[in-house]
């Protein structure tokens, strides 16, 4: 096996939302208390990603999948853990030392209406990052590169003098992809890149992403909630629940027979085109907030197979015979 492109080790990201000192003061039982409110968005996540591979992170809203992608991109500093790119630590680098990695790692965003600056022409949106990283380029070279990328994403070089509001959602998403590609990255975090698009446009963008991956041997970290899309294009999938990874496996193995009870519930909930009434597995209760994480296994409150150990002890990912990793005491013990 080749060396991983990206390695994430025991990554934690908590957000302090307690506000100023005054907002932290609480009053309970006749006493003043100072409480900090932490959103524990990402907890102890580890995985590796190989060059040219698509690794998908799925989960429901609030499970921390987007935070994970953004922390890897350096948009949020992690609280602890390591992020390695081709073996080099990239977490906690200052602006200057991070710059070379910015060319290698790019990102495509969810909302095509917010991800392009409304006051910048397409030429500026694409040209600014290119010139920033390649100050030696002259105007002609910049223009050639922009035209080239525009054609690659199925756009039209004529577009570049226009403003974002003149384009449809699908076209904007193509432009966003072009912006990511223009600095020649090896690795792209795609944060729900198609969920804001209509069905017939989704297929176009997915095809484009798959084409580009083949052409440039791109590695994708694909963050999504749509399981059928994930099943279609990923090599490996990680399922997240409340900030933790419950199951991580090759796509085929996972979708054929999910092992973690949460993965099972999630998959049974996908509406299938053919097949009428669903056989969906109903979960009790609701997703707890990431502010007060449950003890032990974060899923224990809703799990049909819960026992005392699940309440007390946090399960670690362990590798099964088929190569998948599952964080579940029940699976480990052979109960499930």
């Amino acid at each position: 096996m080749s060396d991983p492109l990206l390695t994430v080790k025991n990554l934690y990201k908590h957000f302090d939302i307690s506000g100023g000192f005054l907002d932290q003061i609480g009053f309970s039982g006749g006493k003043f208390t100072r409480t900090r409110t932490l959103v524990k968005a990402v907890n102890n996540i580890s995985f590796e990603l190989k060059a040219g591979e698509t690794f998908s992170v799925v989960g429901e809203s609030g499970c921390g999948k987007s935070t994970l992608g953004r922390t890897i991109m350096g948009l949020y500093p992690p609280n602890s853990g390591e992020i390695l790119y081709r073996g080099d630590r990239i977490d906690g680098l200052d602006h200057q030392r991070m710059l070379p990695y910015r060319k290698k790692m790019q990102m495509v965003f969810q909302d095509p209406y917010a991800s392009l600056n409304p006051r910048k022409t397409i030429r500026q949106a694409l040209g600014d990052p290119l010139c920033y990283h390649n100050p030696q380029l002259n105007d002609g070279e910049v223009k050639d590169r922009i035209d080239e990328v525009m054609l690659q994403v199925g756009g039209d070089p004529q577009w570049i003098s226009r403003m974002p509001h003149e384009f449809s959602g699908g076209q904007r998403q193509r432009i966003s992809i072009a912006r990511a590609l223009i600095v020649d990255p090896e690795f792209v975090v795609a944060d729900e890149p198609i969920s804001a698009l209509d069905v017939s446009i989704q297929a176009q963008i997915l095809n484009l992403m798959m084409d580009l991956q083949q052409q440039y041997n791109l590695a994708y970290l694909f963050v999504a909630h749509d399981l059928s899309v994930v099943e279609h294009l990923s090599d490996r999938v990680g399922v997240m629940y409340l900030g933790t990874m419950c199951e991580l496996s090759e796509t085929g193995i996972l979708f054929e027979r999910p092992r973690h009870p949460y993965t099972q519930a999630l998959m049974s909930a996908i509406p299938k085109l053919t097949g009428g009434a669903s056989d969906h597995m109903r979960l009790k209760g609701e997703v707890p907030t990431p502010i007060n994480l449950p003890s032990g296994c974060v899923f224990h409150g809703r799990c049909p197979h819960v026992n005392q150990r699940c309440i007390d002890e946090i399960p670690q990912l362990c590798t099964l015979n088929d190569g998948r990793q599952v964080a579940c005491h029940g699976v480990e013990e052979g109960r499930i």
């Binding site: 059928s228 509406p271 669903s278 997703v287």
Partner: protein
């Protein structure tokens, strides 16, 4: 079965500053008592505005320019404001898309439930209204409803709020529920629960349901019949299973083929080229003709009416012989 609702040749226009725009162009469908119908299409196809036109609540500057909405013999498009109000929320209830935005943040759930009852039954006592509200909350599986009744919307999660909205819809035992993308803002596991709940309630209460959504798979689970909309017109109608298994209109075919489920893992998807035209520049002839892979000369000049396709589903497409166009 008795006919509950008949929408006929509905034309909805928007009077914009820059001129009039047609949002739906002659939409027709019928719904029997207790029937569940899916209204499917991409954003801008006119499905939501059609749903709102049934209760005559299109946002300004939209208005019903032509056609009728026959609800148990009354034309809702022409009925007066006062009479319409006695039907809205009473005999026809609506479920909105985003449960986080739908409930009034400063009123308790109880107030928002009982006010509907009092509005439609002015003589009803407070105690009775409260009991009905509790009963409906139990029907949608809200735990400890007595406590919940006095709480405010922000104390509920999205999935719970959508249940409450369904409970509000049930309050007056309506004959028809119109659900506009009721699960788009929710997670899959919750979506599945809400959809199951809707099916269950429609069956036990014998209510009609119009489910407006972009998600073919959801429609496939919930409804018996389906109407596919494209650029302001219904392009295909028929029993849900049949439409999904053997779509007749090239747009429906393309839409289903484009889903990842329809292709093998890792393969390119069968995309439909181009995008849906905006309301301002709908092409002449069949609105789908620039994107259609089976386009003919006639498609560019003549707008096809609905006609039976190979399996009997109605499709608005020149591929099938005209002459037996559905009247109404």
């Amino acid at each position: 079965m008795k006919k509950l609702l008949e929408v006929k040749d509905l034309v909805i226009k928007f009077a914009l500053r820059t001129g009039e725009v047609t949002a739906t162009n002659g939409v027709s469908f019928t719904l029997k008592k207790g029937e569940r119908l899916g209204l499917v299409g991409e954003s801008g196809a006119g499905k939501s505005v059609t749903g709102f036109s049934i209760i005559n609540l299109i946002s300004k500057p939209g208005y019903i320019a032509a056609g009728k909405v026959d609800f148990l013999g009354e034309d809702l498009a022409k009925i007066g404001d006062e009479k319409m109000r006695s039907i809205r929320g009473n005999r026809i209830s609506m479920i909105f898309q985003d449960p986080m935005m739908t409930l009034n943040p400063v009123l308790t759930i109880g107030t928002q439930m009982t006010e509907t009852l009092h509005q439609h039954n002015p003589q009803m006592g407070k105690e009775e209204a409260r009991n009905i509200a509790l009963d409906k909350l139990r029907k949608v599986y809200i735990p400890s409803p007595e406590k919940r009744l006095d709480q405010y919307p922000h104390e509920f999660s999205g999935g719970m709020r959508q249940r409450i909205i369904i409970a509000i819809a049930l309050l007056t035992d309506p004959e028809l529920i119109i659900a506009d993308e009721p699960t788009t803002a929710l997670d899959v596991t919750i979506q599945a629960e809400i959809m199951e709940l809707l099916i269950e309630l429609c069956e036990t209460e014998d209510m009609g349901l119009i489910l407006i959504t972009h998600d073919l798979a959801v429609v496939g689970q919930v409804t018996q019949n389906i109407a596919v909309m494209y650029a302001g017109s219904v392009v295909e109608k028929g029993p849900t299973a049949q439409v999904i298994a053997e779509p007749q209109h090239p747009y429906t075919q393309g839409l289903i083929a484009a889903l990842p489920q329809s292709s093998r893992h890792g393969e390119r998807l069968n995309q439909i080229p181009g995008m849906m035209p905006t309301l301002k520049d709908i092409p002449p002839g069949c609105a789908f003709n620039p994107r259609c892979n089976q386009v003919m000369d006639i498609c560019k000049t003549e707008t096809p009416g609905l006609r039976p396709g190979k399996n009997g589903n109605l499709a608005a497409c020149h591929l099938y012989p005209p002459g037996q166009e559905e009247q109404g």
